[in-house]
Amino acid sequence: MPLFERLYNFAHWLTQDREEAEDLVQETYTKALRGFSSFQPGTNFRAWIYQILRNTFLTSRTGLKSASISLDEEGAQQNLPVANATPETILLQRSDQQLIQEALGRLAVPYREILLLCEFEEMSYQEISTTLAIPIGTVMSRLSRARRALRDTVQQMRKD
């Protein structure tokens, strides 16, 4: 079940808790089994099962809390201007892994999940659009903001 490990990893990132992640994955599989008739052959199975997991998360207690965060992202279709820092000061290194993990954990859930779907799951913008049920334009603007938020968080953590 290779997809299982990835679903669990994603669930743990969303919930930030092992037990909650296990409950979430278990419920996802239960729902997938029950609702398999709603899966249309020929469509994207991965996006379908991630959509179930995410919708299940959003109805959980932790998920409901995260849904109340406003991102104010309308109209932000393009990348934001590059920050004033020079590339040397903001270049993220592989050795920064622990710092990046902590920064990812600090991001608002909508930013964290879109970064995981794009960078780790390597979903196309279309797949992300299906999974998160948002237009492609919003996928692009949210991704751009999420990347910037991560950089800002890392910079802030380096200063602290």
């Binding site: 079940m1 290779p2 997809l3 299982f4 490990e5 990835r6 669990y8 990893n9 743990h12 990132w13 092992r18 992640a21 296990e22 994955v25 278990q26 599989y29 239960t30 997938a32 089994l33 398999f36 008739s37 899966f39 199975f45 991965r46 099962i49 393009q78 990348n79 590059v82 590339p87 903001i90 270049l91 993220l92 290194q93 592989r94 920064d96 892994q97 990046i100 993990q101 990812l104 970064l115 995981l116 794009c118 960078e119 780790f120 390597e122 196309s124 913008y125 692009m140 991704l143 751009s144 990347r147 991560l150 950089r151």
Partner: protein
Amino acid sequence: MVMSCETWTEKLDAYFDGELSPEEARTLNDHLRQCATCAAEGLRRLQQKRVVQAAAQRFTPDPVFRARIQKKIASPRPMLWGRRWLSVLVTVTASVLIAGLLVTLQRNRRSEQQLLSELVDQHVTTLASANPVDVISTDRHTVKPWFEGKIPFTFNLPELQGSPFVLVGGRVSYLRQSPGAELIFRVRQHQISLFIFQEQGLNDVGENESLRTALSFEVRTWRHHGLRYYAVGDVGAQDLNQLSELIKAAS
């Protein structure tokens, strides 16, 4: 129509996410080769993408939990669910397995691409560095001994006299936390990085020998006596092949 750097920069994320059309990607790629500012910004974004990709693999499910879910999916329970549910379960399990297989294949391809991209990153970083090498010498008898005690293996370098290649120097490099050698060669106005690492743990590039392209750089790789060699450069395949053959003949 000439586009400003700001317009190019706006396309960088989509470029590295593989969302630009082939034509747009090619044009942006040409621009990155000519514009140091956009290239630096591109490198920064690419680094961030890679770092997040590596950092995101963090949580592993408990084996007990895995067994519980496996049992849940695999158990047919025909008495309760009947034949229809059995077929649904078989279909779901098959879908999960197929999706898993696809993910595994994709992961292998991604793993290989990630490794090659990491080497290209190092090559570009070396070229962009003010001090690209730690030992500066065109003499192989100076460069080779310099690595003694710094890396856990040794290697041979060819006599380059009469060839178009010049040894510039070397530095210690790291791939997946393992130390190795990076040797810089010059051919006309281009530079080639030759990376040498212990083969153990580098099974991503499955074939014995191959010529690949990663981010428009040519990468030639081969293995010899437990070592894995990668030659990276923005030169033609012919140059890379010629240097590779010289190195192989000396090994």
